[in-house]
Amino acid sequence: MSAKKTLFEKIWNAHLVAQPAGRSPIIYIDLHLVHEVTSPQAFDGLREAGRKVRQPARTVATVDHNIPTEPRGTPITDLIAAKQIVALQANCKEFGVRLFDMDSPEQGIVHVIGPELGVTQPGMTIVCGDSHTSTHGAFGSLAFGIGTSEVEHVLATQCLAQQQPKTMKIDVRGRLAEGVTAKDLALGIIGQIGTDGASGHVIEYCGDAVRSLSMEGRMTLCNMSIEAGARAGMVAPDETTFAYVKGKRFAPQGEEWESAVDYWRGMPTDEGAAFDKVVEMDAAQLSPFVTWGTNPGMVAPVTGRVPEVGSLRDSERRSTELALQYMGLEPGKRIEDIGIDRVFIGSCTNSRLEDLRSAARIAKGHHVSAKVRAMVVPGSQTVKRAAEQEGLHRIFLDAGFEWRESGCSMCLGMNPDILQPGERCASTSNRNFEGRQGRGGRTHLVSPMMAAAAAIAGHFTDIRDWKFR
């Protein structure tokens, strides 16, 4: 066996608790993030079996998926959603789990608050009953989404029985051009390898283009790993990572900090370590992207066109035809000629301070098109406060955007923020599946800058030609 290890293998090996013969290895879970939608049945399971939460100190909960983004204190009119929130509150109380509740100054989308609180740290294994748990891989941790049965498994045992996934290196050379963001890199990758291109694999993103991303950018990139089918996505920890984590509320302090950083410095993949699969990309070839179809792999540069279907192979042709029919688009249409009705800036993909800053830079001094309704939903209360301190909310409000409370909101439309049938939305979220943002709604995935520009222009436009004010 080679002594040279990948980042993934180092984390995996460090968390092996047992390797029973003929069974899946059992790995330890350092951090379990919990939210209201995928946990109630898991807590019920614990109660039925008379089990406890094994490690309440490694379990952190918040409410994000179905809470309204109206001002806090407004009663929740959706009674079933309210019941789910009450269930989480009761479960956290009964089992001694720390909850960042509706009224907490640190509430927010679970994948935004983990890093903000410093509970997300390099080298960890992190799970959550949510596929976008891959976000936390940005810190050089192994983070992946699980279903409710596994949520119960982790609550009860702090472990998971898992088959070891394969490894995939995505090496992005060069630098992203001005106006081309981590979101565009993610969409470019999915467009190239497909929505199942990384199935069964943990991706490690490498190369200069990735190294030069901020932590926010790395989170956006790792967040979208699941849209390429990956089990997880990760970026090796470096000075950028340490600078972000340092001083966070639950980060190690003092001597503990020093020894943690020493350990983390040993995490990156050893020179010459082997991956099961390697993909190479050139950052200079990437543009701002816009999805035109009903999965994130159906993507084109903003300067491009909706595809013609004639040249595609059978199953691809059929799915493209179905997608275009659903999206109400003709083959060959120019992306910049697609008009929009709604704009959503938010979600665990793109709702952090840097995302809001970049959108505000576009919006400043402009006004949202008269035919567009645009909303900005900060990822957390912490992001919201920071943005307000910088006056970003003023820029958005003056430009005609709505400025709302934090939550998952229109990314998945479990709360009242949804598209009406036929409405077309430029969205900074992660999925353009049929009906995801509301039945009959048509979602185009873009970066925050592209979304802000589309809100103002009323159609997609290349932000590389934007007139900043």
Binding site: Q55, A57, I80, A156, P252, L412, R431, F433
Partner: protein, 205 residues
């Protein structure tokens, strides 16, 4: 968990690739706090018009597929959200297995926890089963987990791969929390060396 050994049943074809879990069970039905009752909402937006009336043109609503318990679908089935509700909805509707040429990882994982089988066959085999399910009246398949084999009465026979341990759990309907807790001593000794971060151990309200 309900054991899965051998199952014979009617086959319904869903000729789509990349069927995501948002389609299998749309988000408005994720607010329930129970594990049961999701079958009525399976593929809701494809089966029902906006006013809640059955649209009638979805494949599972064709009378010939009523009572189907095996679904054959295009590649990358179950992609997207981790919602286990997708498996609960398929199982509650009456399905015991899905056959495809690839499955999203989380969906496949969730399936095994519910005695629900994801059967991986080659793309040409899936295509052939899709064709037979459309053309042969009352088309039945047998899925034999003991032999890791799918077969019909017209001579179709194909082997499928499955992890030994997963197969063992499914055949015996084992509860994997119980299995993990058999390693209590190892977990406890790991925890002695790796206590929770001190900041998180502090008391909280």
């Amino acid at each position: 968990m309900k054991p899965f050994r051998t199952h014979r049943g009617l086959v319904a074809p869903l000729d789509r690739i990349n069927v995501d879990t948002d389609q299998i069970i749309p988000k408005q039905f994720l607010k329930r706090i129970e594990r049961t009752g999701f079958g009525q909402f399976l593929f809701y937006d494809w089966r029902f018009a906006a006013d809640g009336k059955k649209s009638g043109d979805f494949i599972l609503d064709e009378p010939r597929y009523a009572g189907a318990s095996i679904l054959v679908a295009g590649k990358n089935f179950g992609c997207g959200s981790s919602r286990e509700h997708a498996v609960w909805a398929l199982a509650d509707f009456g399905f015991r297995a899905v056959i495809s040429s690839s499955f999203a990882d989380i969906f496949a994982n969730n399936s095994t926890k519910n005695g629900f089988l994801t059967v991986l066959l080659r793309e040409d085999e899936v295509g052939e089963l899709m064709r037979r399910a459309r053309e042969v009246k009352d088309y039945q398949l047998t899925i034999d987990l003991e032999q890791c084999e799918v077969r019909d009465d017209q001579g179709f026979r194909a082997r499928f791969p499955v992890d030994d341990f997963v197969r063992h759990c499914l055949l015996n309907g084992l509860d994997d929390i119980g299995l993990t807790l058999q390693h209590e001593a190892e977990i406890a000794s790991y925890e002695t060396v790796h206590p929770p971060p001190s900041a998180l151990q502090a008391r909280h309200p």
